[in-house]
Symmetry: C2
Amino acid sequence: MSENAVGWRRSLLQETRCQNCSLSSLCLPLALELEDMSQFDAIIRRRSPLKRGAVLFRQDDTFTSVYAVRSGSLKQVTTEGSGDDQLTNFYLPSELIGLDGIDGQTYPGSVIALETTTVCEIPFDRLDSLSEDLPELRTQLFRSMSKEMRDDRRMMRLLSRKTADQRLATFLAGLSDRFRRRGYSPYSFRLSMSRADIGNYLGLAVETVSRILSRFQQQALVSVSGREVHILDLETLLEVAEQESCR
Amino acid sequence: MSENAVGWRRSLLQETRCQNCSLSSLCLPLALELEDMSQFDAIIRRRSPLKRGAVLFRQDDTFTSVYAVRSGSLKQVTTEGSGDDQLTNFYLPSELIGLDGIDGQTYPGSVIALETTTVCEIPFDRLDSLSEDLPELRTQLFRSMSKEMRDDRRMMRLLSRKTADQRLATFLAGLSDRFRRRGYSPYSFRLSMSRADIGNYLGLAVETVSRILSRFQQQALVSVSGREVHILDLETLLEVAEQESCR
DNA sequence: AGAAATTACTGACTCAGGTCAAGACACTTT
DNA sequence: AAAGTGTCTTGACCTGAGTCAGTAATTTCT
């Protein structure tokens, strides 16, 4: 405990401010001047890291805060009726969690860490009132929500019109792009989620995910070993993802 | 032209203000005091009615305004690649259109009237700056967006987990509920959209929509004649909509 | 290190819902 | 009233992906 606690305390002091955060150009305060950013920074609560499987908040918990991912990744899971879970989102660094909880005062799904993960907690009432004084912050908040709606629409199209092949190609290409934007290799990354998670998210059976990943590998589009992914032919992958409902 | 124009001019004067609007308890300004509401009212532009099939705005048009439906109904259609449309939403009175255009500066889909329809145009830059002075308005705006995200998640669950029967039952029950909230009969209404629209929205072939509506009728859950719908057994319909993935 | 428990892969079989085709119905328009 | 056009319904057939079952490979625990 002692060693870790010290390490954590130190990193808290070192890079715990938005001003020093490597994600500041992607995250909520991206449009703020330095002095505004320190106002924003003041309302943020850093949280100690979550371990794999740890719950950030549970479905139906009272909504209080939104969270920005600092490192690691998480999934959102909504349980309706009994037993039948739906994985509605994966969150990567700089992305905002919990915006769908504003209406209704409770979170509509549980959010769970997929690996060791750190997040910044942003109490929503403080964020709301700060957005009164900082138009750029308000704009960015509107944009984040708007973007999420747009992404949701894309997901609906995927779920209602795309074949299993197209879904997986879209998923892999999408991850690749998200890694690229965050400065990681778009061609080589590790999946933090299980096949079951991917299947649940894409509306496919686990077996289908496995089968298609194997076929993509045969076709030399990707090379997969467990959760390690190498994208070999992004070009073709994107073609598969968007190809005409070719008959 | 003259008679209609006069009629329209008159109704403009009569009930063209939020203060008199029967939807004010459901619409964006729902939380505002009377004097705040008149501030809000001042930024709104009434539009002359759209006829069936008329386009409110087109995909990729520059984003300028959001719209509140005053009467009638509309659909949002997104075209990706070539030809392959996806119907992503139906809008009923009091609902807000265009919030997904804030990010990216263009509308992500075309919005088309399904019948004679009137909308209130709300220029977004004015709405944004007004939300600085009226916290209740800002809150309501956040809520509307949050609610839409929540609805989107529900739609994803529908598209990825529900059977065709469950989808149609959910759709009918949902419409019924939306009519009820707006003060119309939840048991008897007219569909403003075609079977093709319904199919597209629910991720089903037109034929499937037809077949299942027929079966629902046989099972005495509903009685359908063309676009006229009577819900005979809402209880069971809701059961079908949410039943366990019963094996 | 070895046992236990997840997690991932592959094959064989099934079925919900898509596709194709044809006819019925409901509207305008002349 | 006939003709034309789009929307809706019904039937026959087919296929993509789900289910079930068994095995292999990881990861976790002791």
